[in-house]
């Protein structure tokens, strides 16, 4: 390890460097990397008499992967997450665009600050509030009832699950899109207008291509968060039909099927890694080709 400020490598200064550099990797290796690695090990263990026992068997992998309901659930989870990421990206874009190009600096600051907050405030309680709003006797149906409509079924279905996902991901997608749009070179846009590129055409031919990395990043993040979410399918979707996270939680909580939960968890991690890899290639790949 060499210091940028000074290249004096006396013993004392390297003690200083190590003392500051090591705590983070040690902690993360001990409790994060080790946990993920152990999950791999666990997936080959077996359960005997309701007790997890060290073993080396492909049983868990075989059982899970041959189960029809698992494959269906896997596809469903991917489709749900894709739908959520698409919806969030589409709904967020006009918002991020307005923030970047139409809003006053004050409004920008207020909105950005308010959008940061939900990321750190109980998603659980927010999802529950949607239940209050969406049930047959809930607020929205009561209002609809007064004008003679409804009640519309808005819980325990795909609509409810998507509302839940959007609660989780919409603020962060707006923020990420906004940051990438805010970085688009204004001169490019002016140049486009100069060349008589219309407002709408400018958005599609200039702004979206220049902000593409950020837009893809936002959609990827939305996918990852929805893919792994347990609260929305469980509370708003009422576990019917389940997603992978619901299966996994069931395997851990109702029974000691930890090894099978490990298989599901690893499958999810692998999927997310693949998605992240593909998305990054898609986001940066084109750029590299062009330059």
């Amino acid at each position: 390890m060499s210091a940028s400020g000074t290249t004096n490598t006396t013993r004392r200064s390297s003690l200083f460097a190590w003392a500051l550099a090591l705590p983070m990797p040690v902690w993360q290796t001990l409790f994060f990397v080790a946990a993920l690695l152990f999950l791999v090990v666990m997936s080959f263990w077996s359960v005997q008499n309701f007790r997890v026992t060290p073993d080396f068997t492909f049983d868990n992998w075989a059982k899970i992967y041959s189960a029809g309901y698992f494959r269906v659930t896997y596809v469903r989870t991917v489709l749900y997450a894709l739908l959520a990421a698409t919806l969030a990206s589409l709904i967020a874009f006009p918002c991020a665009y307005g923030l970047a190009f139409k809003a006053s600096p004050l409004m920008r600051r207020i909105v950005v600050a308010s959008l940061i907050m939900p990321y750190f405030t109980s998603y659980l309680v927010r999802a529950n509030s949607w239940k209050i709003l969406l049930t047959d006797q809930g607020v929205i149906n009561s209002v609809l009832g007064t004008v003679g409509l409804g009640p519309l079924p808005m819980t325990s279905n795909l609509f409810a699950v998507m509302i839940g996902y959007l609660t989780l991901i919409l603020p962060i997608v707006i923020l990420l899109q906004y940051f990438s749009l805010a970085n688009v070179d204004r001169r490019l846009i002016e140049a486009a207008h100069n060349l008589r590129c219309g407002r709408v055409r400018t958005v599609f031919q200039v702004i979206i291509p220049s902000a593409r990395t950020g837009l893809i990043l936002a959609a990827t993040f939305a996918f990852i968060l929805s893919f792994g979410d347990f609260v929305s399918p469980s509370f708003l979707g009422n576990n019917k039909p389940p997603t992978l996270s619901v299966l996994m939680v069931d395997a851990v909580k109702s029974g000691s099927q930890w090894p099978r939960a490990a298989v599901v968890a690893l499958t999810m991690v692998a999927t997310l890694l693949l998605v992240a890899f593909l998305a990054m290639n898609f986001a940066y790949g084109e750029k590299r080709k062009r330059s």
């Binding site: 994060f32 709003l133 792994g228 992240a276």
Partner: protein
Amino acid sequence: MKADRIISLAFKAYIWLALLFVFAPILTSFVFSFDANKFAAIPWGGFSTKWYAEAFGDPEVAKSLRNTVIVALSSSILATLIGFTAAYTDYRYDFFGKKVYLALAFIPPTIPVIILGVAMLVLLGRIGLSGQLHSVIIAHVVYSLPFAMALIRLRLSQMNKDLEAAAWNLGASQWRALKEIIIPFCLPAIFSALFLTMAVSFDEYAIAWFVSGFNETLPVRILILLQREVSPKVNAIGSLVFIVSMTLVMLAQIVFLMREPGSGKGKRI
């Protein structure tokens, strides 16, 4: 141009609508936490604070609140401390494998909490650290230290690079310069990181659900209540949780943006 103004207004209205979507559930929780009716519906059943009384009267809730406070305080201090050392390392040193070093810090929050929860349960259970408060603390540090690291790193990048070298030049050892110059300069970010990691831990339900065992934290208690019964008690607890975490996040933002005179930026003429 008139058309421009209308378009601009339409965008602004859309932004406020999006904000309404984001904040509607929070408002709902507040409104119905004071509703006398058991089942939340329109019309409102009249003002009542009985759900708050019921929530606070519940010994399980009180216990879980105490646990949450212990976990949030300890994990935020640890996460900020470790986050600071990592941020300083990233700021000052260049070394082989730095990308791996940074990935180690920043990957955990991108992994679904539910998976982290299972992984932590499996590991901590095996080494006999599961089911206790310190298991939750350990897991929350893993998950929240990148937030602390990012805030402090951002602050360090606003620092005039010469400041630390100037301290050495005037006779301060590296440790002394850290104490006299780097830490005072980063103080706003350090407080900001403390508040933010506290908020992260205060709200975290999934990892805690898996590793806390019988030592539930407040979010875990909420989760259990939600699974068990329909009770506006949850709205009361939820509203309190909102207030606490929003206060923490707001404090984090305010402290971070607070510019004590001469934070160095733009003044380097």
